[in-house]
C-alpha cells in the first residue's frame, strides 16, 4: 500500500501536487509511508483504533439502534498545512471572530448595524436564535464568543472558504488532542522532521481564557466549572476530558442551584460560589425560567445571575444569532462595517431563500445547489442537489416554499481531498477543517484543528453523525 497508484484526479489534494508528486513540505511524510509495507501500515492503523477504544473516545449517534457508542473513525494519514497558509487562516479567523463578537454585542445593545441598514433588521428580529432575554447584556470584557470552531473548506483551486461559524457549543477539540497523542506514535520520524506545531497546551489556553472573563466582582482565583447535559450526551467524553485536563469540576444542572442571584455548586463541603461556567448545554435548555420551561438539564434562575453579572457563561447565550445561516451571508459586510477591512477568508456564495428573487433561483437550480436549514447543524436538514433524487428535491422545494426564511442555498463546492487509507489502498477523500479559536483577553487560534473526512467514496458529507471520520492536522512551524 503506497502512493504509486494514487491519483489526485480533478481535485485539489492536500498532500500531492497536480503533477502527482508530493507537495515539497509533505515529502518526509509520504516517504515514511512509502517505506512501510501494507501490513505495517495496517498494523499502525489498527493500533490507533485500539488506542481510541481503550481511552473510551466514543460518541453516541442519536437514533442509531445498533449501538449507542461508536468510535469516530480515525485515519492515520495526517493532513498537512504549510506555515504560510496557516498564517492567513490565523489572521482571517481572528478578524472574523473579532467582527462577529462586535456584531453580537451591537445587536443586543445599540443595534447600530441594523439602524445603518447594513443587515436587515427584520432578518435579525425574525430569527429564532435572537434571544430577547439577552438584550442589554454586557458580558465581562465584551466577549460573547469565547470558544469557536469555524468550519473551513477548500475549493478546486485550493482557496479556503468559511463554511460555518459554529459560535454556540462547537465540539471536537478533544479529538484534536487525542488524535495528536496517537498520531505522534504513528509516524514519529516524519512528525519530527516536519516541525509540527504543538497543540497539547490547548487546555492551558482554555483555562486562561475562562479565567480572564470572570465576573468583575469575583475575588481571588475564579471558580470555573464545565457544565454538561450528562453522561448520555453525544459529546460527554469531551466535556469530561476538558474538565479533567483543566482540573476543574464537571457539573450537571442538578449539581447547581441559585442562591441570592449567585450560582452555587453543591460539594461535600457545602455550597461553593461558581464564577465561570463553560457550558455545553444549548441556550434554550440552560434556564427553564427564561427559556424552555420543560428543560430538566438547566438551572432555574441562572439567567438572572448572569444578567446581574454574578456569573460568566461561555459561550454567552444569544451567540446563535450570528450562527444563523442567513446571517452568515452578511458576514463580509459585518467585517467591513466594524473593522473597515475586507474579509481575509471569503464566504461561500450564499442564496437567501427569504429573498424572493434569490429563492426563485434556488428553486430552479435545486439539482446543482446545497440547501441548508438556517438553524440546524451536524449535516441535518440538508439537501445536496447533485446527489438527490427527484422526490427529495420535490420535498425540499415544498419545505422552502412553506418557510423561505428558514433556508439558504450554496453552490456545491468541489471540496479538496487528501490521501486516506481505504481498505487495501490509499485513495483521495474529501475533507474540511475545523480550527478552534479562543477569545478571552485576546484571540488565540490553536495551530491545528480537526480535519474531518468523508470516508465514503465521492461523498462530501464529513459530519461524524453521517459517517465521517477524522484526521490529525499538522500545522508546520515555518512559513
Amino acid at each position: 500500500m503506497n502512493f504509486d497508484d494514487y491519483q489526485t484526479k480533478d481535485f485539489f489534494d492536500e498532500l500531492i501536487g497536480s503533477d502527482g508528486n508530493p507537495r515539497s513540505l509533505s515529502t518526509p511524510l509520504i516517504e515514511q509511508i512509502n517505506s512501510l509495507s501494507a501490513k505495517e501500515l495496517r498494523r499502525l492503523q489498527k493500533a490507533a483504533e485500539v488506542a481510541l477504544y481503550r481511552q473510551g473516545i466514543t460518541f453516541s449517534v442519536y437514533g442509531d439502534k445498533k449501538g449507542t457508542e461508536k468510535i469516530i473513525p480515525f485515519d492515520i494519514i495526517p493532513r498537512v498545512v504549510p506555515g504560510d497558509e496557516w498564517e492567513i487562516i490565523d489572521k482571517g479567523l481572528k478578524q472574523r471572530i473579532k467582527a462577529l463578537n462586535l456584531f453580537i454585542d451591537d445587536i443586543y445593545n445599540e443595534k447600530k448595524i441594523l439602524k445603518d441598514g447594513i443587515v436587515p433588521e427584520d432578518l435579525i428580529l425574525s430569527s429564532a436564535c435572537y434571544l430577547k432575554q439577552c438584550i442589554g447584556i454586557k458580558p465581562p470584557g465584551g466577549v460573547w464568543i469565547h470558544i469557536t470552531g469555524t468550519d473551513l473548506v477548500r475549493d478546486k483551486d485550493g482557496k479556503y472558504y468559511v463554511l460555518e461559524d459554529n459560535l454556540r457549543c462547537p465540539s471536537g477539540i478533544s479529538y484534536v488532542l487525542q488524535n495528536r497523542a496517537i498520531q505522534k506514535r504513528t509516524f514519529p520520524q516524519a512528525f519530527a522532521a516536519m516541525k509540527v506545531r504543538p497543540v497539547s497546551d490547548y487546555d492551558n489556553h482554555l483555562y486562561n481564557t475562562l479565567k480572564n472573563v470572570a465576573p468583575k466582582n469575583c475575588v481571588g482565583k475564579p471558580n470555573i466549572i464545565v457544565l454538561t447535559p450528562g453522561i448520555y450526551n453525544s459529546a460527554y467524553f469531551e466535556h469530561a476530558y476538558l474538565a479533567q485536563q483543566m482540573g476543574v469540576t464537571l457539573a450537571e444542572g442538578s449539581d447547581l442551584t441559585v442562591i441570592d442571584d449567585c450560582v452555587m455548586l453543591r460539594t461535600t463541603k457545602g455550597f461553593e460560589k461558581v464564577d465561570v461556567i463553560y457550558r455545553r448545554i444549548d441556550d434554550e435548555f440552560i434556564d427553564p425560567l427564561a427559556f424552555r420551561p420543560d428543560s430538566l438539564l438547566g438551572i432555574p434562575g441562572i439567567m438572572q445571575c448572569y444578567r446581574k453579572g454574578n456569573v460568566t457563561l461561555a459561550n454567552a447565550p444569544g451567540t446563535g444569532i450570528a450562527d444563523d445561516k442567513a446571517v452568515y451571508a452578511y458576514v463580509p459586510q459585518i467585517i467591513k462595517y466594524y473593522l473597515g477591512e475586507d474579509a481575509i477568508i471569503p464566504n461561500v456564495p450564499t442564496y437567501l431563500c427569504g429573498d424572493e428573487k434569490q429563492c426563485e433561483y434556488v428553486l430552479k437550480n435545486l439539482n446543482s445547489l446545497v440547501v441548508k436549514a438556517v438553524n440546524l447543524s451536524g449535516g441535518y436538514g440538508m439537501l445536496i442537489g447533485s446527489k438527490s433524487t427527484p422526490a427529495e428535491r420535490k420535498e425540499f422545494a415544498e419545505k422552502i416554499k412553506a418557510d423561505p426564511r428558514n433556508y439558504i442555498a450554496q453552490p456545491t463546492l468541489c471540496l479538496s481531498r487528501t490521501p486516506t487509507i481505504c481498505g487495501n489502498q490509499i485513495e483521495g477523500r474529501h475533507v474540511d477543517l475545523r480550527p478552534y479559536i479562543l477569545y478571552g483577553e485576546s484571540i488565540f487560534v490553536l495551530p491545528g484543528g480537526l480535519t474531518r473526512v468523508a470516508l465514503t467514496k465521492g461523498s462530501l458529507v464529513v459530519n461524524s453523525s453521517q459517517g465521517g471520520g477524522s484526521k490529525d492536522t499538522w500545522v508546520m512551524e515555518d512559513a
Binding site: R43, A47, A181, K184, R185, P188, Q189, F191, A192, A193, K195, V196, R197, P198, S200, D201, D203, N204, Y207, N208, K211, K221, Q244, Q245, M246, G247, V248, E477
Partner: protein, 300 residues
C-alpha cells in the same frame, strides 16, 4: 525488589515522556535532548565512558537494555527478580509470576534487532509495575515484609522525583525566552507527566509554571509521587515495622530528621536559596536513612 521495580518503571516513564516532548518541541532527532535522562538517573560518568554521544538511540539503549548499566531497565528488573526469588516464600505466587513475566518480556525484547513500538513496550513495563504493586496490596499480608517493600518503593520514588526536579530545573530555567511561552507550559507539563502528576496537579494549580510544579512535586500531601508524600508513607511503614518487631533502631531517628527537615522548608525559601542545594541536602539525608535502615535491619 520493589525498589528496583520502581526504578525500572520510572525510567520507562521518563523515556516515553521525553519521546513525546521532543516531538512537541519540534526537535529533529539530531538535536533532541536525551542527555538529561542519563543525568536524571545519575549515570553520566558511566555513559560518557562507554558511549560516543547522547543520541536518542544510545540513550535509549543505555537506559533500557544495557546490562552493564546497573540502573538500566533490564538490570533493575533482573535484580528485582533475583530478590523476589530469595523471598519467594514470603510473597504471593501472583506477584512472583507477574515479575517473572515482566523479566521475560524485557529479556526477549532485548534480543530483538529493532523494536516496532517502543511506546507500547514502555507502557507494558509501567503497567506491569502497577500490577505488581496492586497484587502486593491485595494478595500479600500487610505485615513486616509488606511494609519493608512499601518503604523501599517510597524511598526510591522520593529520590527519583527529587532528581527529576533537579535536572529539569537546571535545564529549563536558564532560558528566559522560554518563560511563560507555549513551550514553557509544554516543558513543565512534561515534567509533571514524568511523575504521572499532570492531571492531579491541574486540580490544584490550573496554569503550569515552574514554581507551582516544583511546589506540587515537593510538598503535596496527597499526591503519591510527591517527595513529602513518599517520605511520610515510608516513615509510617518504618513505624509499623518497628512496632511489630518491638525494637528500637537508629533508622527511626534518621527518618524523623528527614521528615522534619523537609517540613521546615517553604517553596520560596527553596527557590530563593537554590533548588539544587535543597535537593542535594535532601538526597544526602535520604542516603543516611538508607544506610541506617540497612544497618538497623540487615547487617547482623
Amino acid at each position: 525488589m520493589s525498589r528496583y521495580l520502581e526504578r525500572a518503571e520510572n525510567v520507562a516513564r521518563f523515556i516515553s515522556v521525553n519521546e513525546h516532548l521532543m516531538l512537541d518541541l519540534g526537535l529533529a532527532p539530531g538535536n533532541a535532548q536525551w542527555n538529561p535522562l542519563v543525568t536524571t538517573s545519575g549515570d553520566d560518568a558511566d555513559f560518557a565512558k562507554r558511549y560516543d554521544d547522547p543520541s536518542e538511540e544510545n540513550v535509549i539503549y543505555f537506559l533500557t537494555f544495557d546490562k552493564k548499566n546497573p540502573n538500566s531497565i533490564i538490570s533493575c528488573i533482573a535484580r528485582a527478580r533475583e530478590n523476589a526469588r530469595t523471598v519467594r516464600e514470603a510473597i504471593s505466587s501472583e506477584m512472583w509470576e507477574e515479575l517473572n513475566l515482566l523479566y521475560h518480556l524485557v529479556e526477549q525484547n532485548s534480543r530483538k534487532r529493532r523494536i516496532d513500538n517502543l511506546q507500547e513496550f514502555y507502557a507494558q513495563i509501567r503497567n506491569a509495575s502497577h500490577l505488581f504493586t496492586g497484587l502486593s496490596e491485595n494478595t500479600m499480608s500487610h505485615g513486616e515484609g509488606w511494609h519493608f517493600a512499601r518503604m523501599a518503593r517510597m524511598l526510591e520514588r522520593a529520590d527519583k522525583t527529587a532528581r527529576l526536579i533537579d535536572v529539569k530545573y537546571f535545564i529549563l530555567l536558564p532560558d528566559p525566552a522560554y518563560v511563560d511561552s507555549t513551550y514553557d507550559a509544554i516543558e513543565w507539563g512534561a515534567v509533571l507527566k514524568s511523575a504521572n502528576a499532570f492531571e492531579m496537579y491541574r486540580k490544584y494549580f490550573h496554569s503550569i509554571n515552574y514554581k507551582d510544579v516544583t511546589k506540587f512535586l515537593i510538598f503535596d500531601k496527597y499526591f503519591p509521587r510527591s517527595i513529602t508524600y513518599c517520605v511520610n508513607i515510608a516513615a509510617d511503614s518504618l513505624d509499623a515495622i518497628i512496632s511489630e518487631l518491638g525494637v528500637n533502631v537508629s533508622a527511626k531517628q534518621e527518618m524523623e530528621k528527614l521528615r522534619t527537615s523537609l517540613a521546615s522548608y517553604s517553596i520560596d525559601g527553596i527557590l530563593g536559596n537554590g533548588l539544587h542545594e535543597f535537593i542535594d541536602i535532601f538526597q544526602f539525608n535520604l542516603n543516611i536513612v538508607d544506610q541506617a535502615i540497612n544497618k538497623s535491619f540487615f547487617e547482623i
